[in-house]
Amino acid sequence: MSLLIQVLIGGMTIGSIYSLIAIGFVLIFKSSGVLNFAQGSMVMAGAFFAYTFVVQLHVPIIISLIITFLLAAIIGMLIERIVLRNLRGVSIISIIMVTLGISYMIDGGALAIWGSSNFTYPKLFPSFTLTVGGIRIASVYLWSFLTAGGLLVVFLLFFKYSKLGLSMRAAADNQKVAVALGISANKILSVTWIISALVATAGGILLASISALHINLSYIGLIVFPVVILGGLDSVAGAAIGGIIVGIIESVSGVYIAPYLGGAFQQVAAFIFLMIILLVRPYGLFGTKEIKRL
């Protein structure tokens, strides 16, 4: 029994990080219908920026965090400005490929700048730990939990009430209508990419500070895919909740099922669960259904 509790808590802790990173995916998809394969690389890059300023350049933490987020925002904007803005009306899969190309660039850049060693990540936040049901939870998880939750609330309100948010939804629903309403699609897309880059950076910093920093951090992009789809590609809430669910599923299957099936079952378990959900709800848990018209 106590084991089960520990399993659940363990699942939630990592799930919180999944949610945080998944939200970045969803934002971009929601506004521009692009599934951003470079998200993982953006996560990694963000983590490395903070590392550079704090450790290599000895900038005070707060300032270096600010600079980091500025840089991330700029990169996000540049990606949108230079690349995606020139790809209007291109088939979705070509855009996938483009984002992959971007991820090659970012990964390569990171490799060129920081090399492929493991780095010890600085302690950026007051680190304390509290023990719940025999699980020692590092503060980082709480931070990511709070950040994810905070972002969730912020974006729910943002999309509900703020003019920009509403227009983003309009744009996502129907470019033409949006244009008719005098909404600048460009502005919206830039904003989305900036926000999403910031989220990625936050995720990167949190993720890096619970393990050694290495360029392979960008794999997280692949690992959260089931989360994004499970929640529904265009639902921020879906991403947040999906993260927790997947975390728990991985944890539960890792402890209770893997011993019988052998191997590393947890990731597969997440995907199998995803398949089952998709067969019941073809647009994820909270995704909006696209209506066929003639």
């Binding site: 599934l35 690349v83 020139n86 790809l87 291109v90 088939s91 979705i92 899969i93 070509s94 996938i96 490929m97 483009v98 992959l100 190309g101 971007i102 991820s103 090659y104 660039m105 990964d107 390569g108 850049g109 490799l111 060129a112 090399g115 692949l222 895919f225 089931p226 789809i229 590609l233 099936l261 052998g262 191997g263 590393a264 079952f265 990731q267 597969v268 995907f271 199998i272 995803l274 398949m275 998709l278 067969l279 073809p282 647009y283 994820g284 995704g287 696209e290 066929k292 003639l294």
Partner: protein, 345 residues
């Protein structure tokens, strides 16, 4: 007109000549170049498969690495356990993979777009898990060795022999695919891609043809995987991870979705581009001085090329070449319409 035919005959003879001489033309580079040509040939077959599914039927698949794996493992197991000769085990592998493909394709009844793509991604991971953990069959993570069959006492994974097998198969694949899109099946695929609802309403059993598309596509991919297995003589699960699927997607997008030659150009591009970048940078090395960042820069350049390329020609190399062909024909005057259509394919 007769002159035309005669010239055609000659050009074909020249092609055949090149095809036969090619593997003996490069002195000490032979093995190295042939290896890349062979990988390209395998790539062409796989890319045709993926293009049929994604480019022509409009179903995105991230699971093709898994399908290749199924093909490779089937070949390995059939040939080692049952001692099946290559000319049987390759088609058999294709058929087995086709069944897996149908299985994976079933969700396409309800799933669309990215959600289907993710379902295929899931199947990719599930297949990888099976490869790793069905030890009795796949020998787990250590993978399987095979002793390739021999022709005239030479193992077929000898670069020259394999060149003739793989290249021939690739060319056959190109022609088969071209034929397929002359007939109702191929047309049905395109109809589903363009307007699946209208397709259904004019009498196409959409789901059936989606499954057929998955089956044929995975058949190609399975054969490609089988060839891969014969060539490498070892297969392990780490050889069929997501990056392979991504390479194939790169092939069809860069080459040109929904075009047959596109798959060919794409395969060549994806196999050769990194090598060309490598060589160019080696030449520039004395100027650049980037010992440690060499690989990194290679990666960056690859990314930059793909991105810029897609910005300037999202429809891929095929579009560029056919436009080029148009211009050539305009110059020559319009006496070669048929060839023009050929380029489209």
């Amino acid at each position: 007109m007769i002159k035309q035919c005669a010239r055609k005959k000659w050009t074909y003879l020249i092609y055949v000549g090149i095809f036969l001489v090619f593997p003996f033309a490069f002195f000490k580079y032979t093995a190295y170049i042939l290896f890349m040509v062979n990988m390209t040939a395998i790539g062409v077959i796989g890319a045709l498969g993926l293009n049929m599914l994604t480019g022509y039927t409009g179903l995105i698949s991230l699971g093709h690495a898994g399908f290749m794996g199924v093909g490779a493992y089937s070949v390995a197991i059939l040939s080692m356990r049952l001692g099946m000769p290559a000319y049987l085990s390759l088609p058999a592998a294709g058929i087995i993979t086709a069944f897996v493909g149908i299985l994976v394709g079933t969700p396409s009844l309800r799933l669309r777009g990215f959600y289907l793509a993710m379902a295929t991604l899931a199947s990719e991971f599930i297949l990888e898990y099976v490869f790793k953990n069905w030890e009795s069959m796949t020998h787990g993570v250590q993978g399987l060795y095979i002793t390739p069959p021999q022709i005239f006492g030479i193992y077929i994974n000898n670069d020259r022999i394999f060149y003739f097998i793989a290249a021939t198969l690739a060319i056959c694949a190109v022609f088969c695919t071209r034929n397929l899109f002359r007939t109702n099946v191929g047309r049905a695929f395109i109809a589903i891609r363009d307007r699946d609802i209208a397709a259904a309403l004019i009498g196409i059993n959409v789901f059936k043809y989606k499954l057929i598309s998955f089956a044929v596509s995975s058949f190609y991919t399975g054969v490609a995987g089988g060839l891969w297995c014969y060539y490498m003589t070892i297969i392990n699960p780490e050889a069929f991870q997501l990056y392979v699927s991504i390479d194939y997607i790169a092939m069809i997008i860069v080459g040109g979705m929904g075009t047959i030659m596109g798959s060919v150009y794409g395969a060549i591009f994806v196999v050769l581009l990194p090598e060309i970048i490598q060589r160019v940078m080696e030449v520039l090395q004395p100027i650049l001085h980037i010992e440690y960042a060499f690989a990194a820069f290679k990666q960056i350049v690859f990314g930059v090329i793909i991105v810029t390329f897609l910005i300037f020609e999202p429809r891929g190399l095929a579009a560029i070449f056919s436009r080029f062909g148009e211009r050539m024909r305009k110059k020559k005057g319009g006496d070669q319409k048929q060839e023009g259509k050929l380029v489209e394919f």
